[in-house]
Amino acid sequence: MSEPGTTEPRDPGPPAKPPWLARATGVGESTLRALVLPTLAFITALIIGALIIAVSDVDNLRILFADPGTALGNMVEEVARSYRALFDGAVGSINAISETLFATTPLLLAGLGIALGFRAGLFNIGAQGQMLIAGIAAAYVGIYVSAPAIVHIPLTILAGLAGGMIWGGLAGVLKARTGAHEVITTIMGNFIALFLVQWLLTTEAIQDPGRNNPVSAALSGSAVLPRLFGSEYRVTIGFLIAIAGVFVLHWLLFRSSFGFELRAVGSNPQAGSYAGMNVAIVVTLVMALAGGLAGIAGANQVMGLPPFKASPALAGSVGFDAITVALLGRSNPVGVMWAALLFGALSAGGRVMQGAAQVPIDLVVVLQALIVIFVAAPGLIRAIWRVKGEPEEATQLTTGWGS
């Protein structure tokens, strides 16, 4: 690897001429840039999303040429209705906020894991598989151990942590021992985990009796995560664990010597090696810890999501959404938290939008992808909105399959 992993913003240097917004608000230009570009990315994605909603309505398209006025009016109305439902479903009520935090929890945990990998120059695409292995590990402990909740809950989470650490750590060991690229091994690990879990869930030890499909029995009540705001709101203490993860990761990355080592290895493994750091151990540990964070997310999916069963679909698309969360958060724990909240809100709102406006929730996935494209390619968003200023380097994490 020759390129440094420039996940951290470049030193902006003395701004020649602050833009009008910086002058008006008195905020420094670098802070502004950190906020303005993501905001513009979000707005651009919403505009493109609106166009997609408008042009995908078959009924309106059929009358577009016969009666353009009505068709266009319908389209605008539909977009407005969809986005209002999206907004209401995200933050419009206490239940909406609870749903947002509920959706944020696994995104944040898995996103922190991926961000940790990015910091060490490792691209962990395997959160999905790590969550699956963790989910099944948590299910075993949640079903077979009987203990009071105060013991059972931490134990079940630890099982998830361990499952994720093993699955992530395997990729780390392969990278450290043989140089196998973690992108390939973690992608393959996702599929291997999926088939493994599908098979395990049909074994007698864990399958829900009376079911033919791969679903585990329900966890015992003492392993279920308690809810934060009473039983009618779904958000659990898992959210608090995720927030605690933000602080722990921040400390680990920026206050501990291991964090210094992993960032050094991330920006230049050769230099880290010359400075006496054991790159192999750092790589293995980081992949294990990243897997562990995804693992807690996997445990959360079994312990916090009714009906408290493990299934091959337990990770949903969280493992992949977490990659977008980590990218949007620029691998900074606090940034990852805001990104997870945003995508959690989109996901909660998307469900309401689907019900109220008959716009499929998949639109949210499109919005996420667009936001990340624009954030990853700041030059694109600058060109669209004609934002002046020094262009920033795009994130470069990987430099090929070799080394």
Binding site: T178, I184, P360, W401
Partner: protein, 427 residues
């Protein structure tokens, strides 16, 4: 394209006998001996001594009927075990990696045959049916791998193959339903090219990390096609009914036993794919285009010094790769499954990526890997039907496990293009 003689490979790693090679040779020797033990213990002695297995080598539709091989199951597996054991011993004595892949391939083939003989003991088994479905399921994998290697030979990692396949499958279904097969295929090729162009644009113009760009393209493709499928296709069902692609039986060749039904009785997609493998190999290693693409992938600075427009070559290759993936998506949607379903690719693009690595970035390697991975998929189906008690999940896992073994360097000696994944900045 003018054909110029160029060396077969830009760089050939020298064969050196190192301690690591010796250790690897020993590991492979031991693996082969373990396989031999399994063949003897499970497959040979797991069947009654008089049991016989029958492999059917003709389909009911074939011109020449009723070709089959019947043999004593235990005797066959016993002989296979002896041969695999001998290969293992030979590896242990050899202590270098020469012809390792051949030895492994022979050993594993015998292992699979013994396994089938065991699974089909006292019954018969349509060997040719399985080989035919192997070829069919290898097509998308091979095309995905060809897409990947076209991009990576020029130094751009394409992890968005999955998304390119999925989007072009969607477009192929809609256009084929509305305007017929050729519109579907054409639309799929165009969309594949557009997604290739998007990847190239993000990776080259904005220097977005290539893996990030690919991952995001996959997410975008999944979101967009699922959105449109549930919003448009569910309302207009007639748009999810693609025209049937007629099969084309190649006269005479299709009547050859075994080979005929395997290779010469398919839709045009299959023939084009095989031609593409030959064509791409020729183009990469015998034309100016190929030399330029490979030089850009190995040492862009040197290529630039010689006056090759590095970025242009990269754009072109990534777009060509997209077209190949688009063709794969069209095959999947129009010929293999004949309708669009949400996330219908289900990870096959990643198997294609794996096949590219498994096939060492070579077109024929991609085809071979595609056939191997297609075989494990076909085997998984057969095993589920035969009811051997072996979970089919383990068969489905095989391509992914094999890929991990290859990238870990235990076998295969895969070496990516030197500048793969690195953005090029003109000095």
């Amino acid at each position: 394209m003018t054909a110029t003689k160029v060396p077969e490979k830009v760089q050939e790693p020298a064969v050196v006998r190192t301690g690591a090679d010796e250790r690897r040779a020993r590991i492979i020797g031991v693996i082969l001996m373990v396989l031999a033990a399994v063949v003897l213990g499970v497959f040979a002695f797991g069947v009654p001594s008089g049991a016989s297995s029958t492999f059917n080598l003709s389909l009911p539709t074939d011109a020449i009927q009723d070709i089959s091989v019947t043999f004593n199951s235990r005797l066959f597996s016993g002989v296979a075990a002896v041969i695999i054991f001998a290969l293992g011993v030979e590896r242990l004595r050899r202590r270098n990696l020469q012809r390792t892949n051949t030895a492994l391939a022979v050993g594993l083939s015998l292992f699979v045959l013994a396994f089938l003989a065991w699974a089909a003991a006292d019954s018969s088994f349509s060997m040719v049916g399985m080989l035919r479905s192997t070829v069919i399921s290898s097509i998308v994998i091979t095309l995905g791998a060809l897409c990947g290697l076209t991009c990576e030979r020029a130094g751009v990692i394409n992890i968005g193959i999955e998304g390119q396949l999925l989007t072009s499958a969607f477009v192929a279904v809609v256009l084929s339903s509305a305007f017929g097969t050729w519109a579907g295929v054409g639309g799929a090729l165009v969309v594949g090219a557009l997604l290739g162009a998007l990847l190239a644009w993000l990776a080259i113009r904005f220097r977005v990390d290539q893996i990030i760009a690919g991952v995001v393209i996959n997410i975008l493709a999944l979101g967009l096609t699922s959105f449109l499928a549930s919003r448009v296709l569910s309302e207009a069902q007639d748009l999810n009914a693609p025209a049937r692609v007629p099969g084309f039986r190649i006269p005479i060749l299709a009547d050859i036993p075994v080979i005929g039904p395997m290779f010469f009785d398919h839709t045009f997609f299959v023939y084009v794919t095989f031609l593409l493998v030959f064509g791409l190999h020729f183009a990469l290693f015998r034309t100016r285009w190929g030399l330029r693409a490979r030089s850009v992938g190995e040492h862009p600075k040197a290529a630039d010094t010689l006056g090759i427009d590095v970025l242009r070559v990269r754009y072109r290759n990534v777009i060509i790769g997209g077209v190949i993936a688009g063709f794969g998506g069209a095959f999947l949607a129009l010929a293999q499954i004949s309708r669009f379903e949400e996330n219908m690719t289900g990870g096959i693009g990643f198997i294609g990526l794996a096949a590219m690595i498994f096939g060492r970035w070579m077109p024929f390697g991609a085809l071979a890997a595609g056939l191997v991975f297609g075989f494990s998929g076909a085997l998984a189906q057969k095993v589920a039907i035969l009811g051997t008690g072996i979970p089919s999940e383990f068969m489905l896992m095989l391509p992914y496990v094999a890929t991990v073994i290859v990238v870990a360097g235990l076998v295969g000696g895969a070496r990516p293009p030197a500048a793969d994944g690195q953005p090029y900045i003109k000095q």
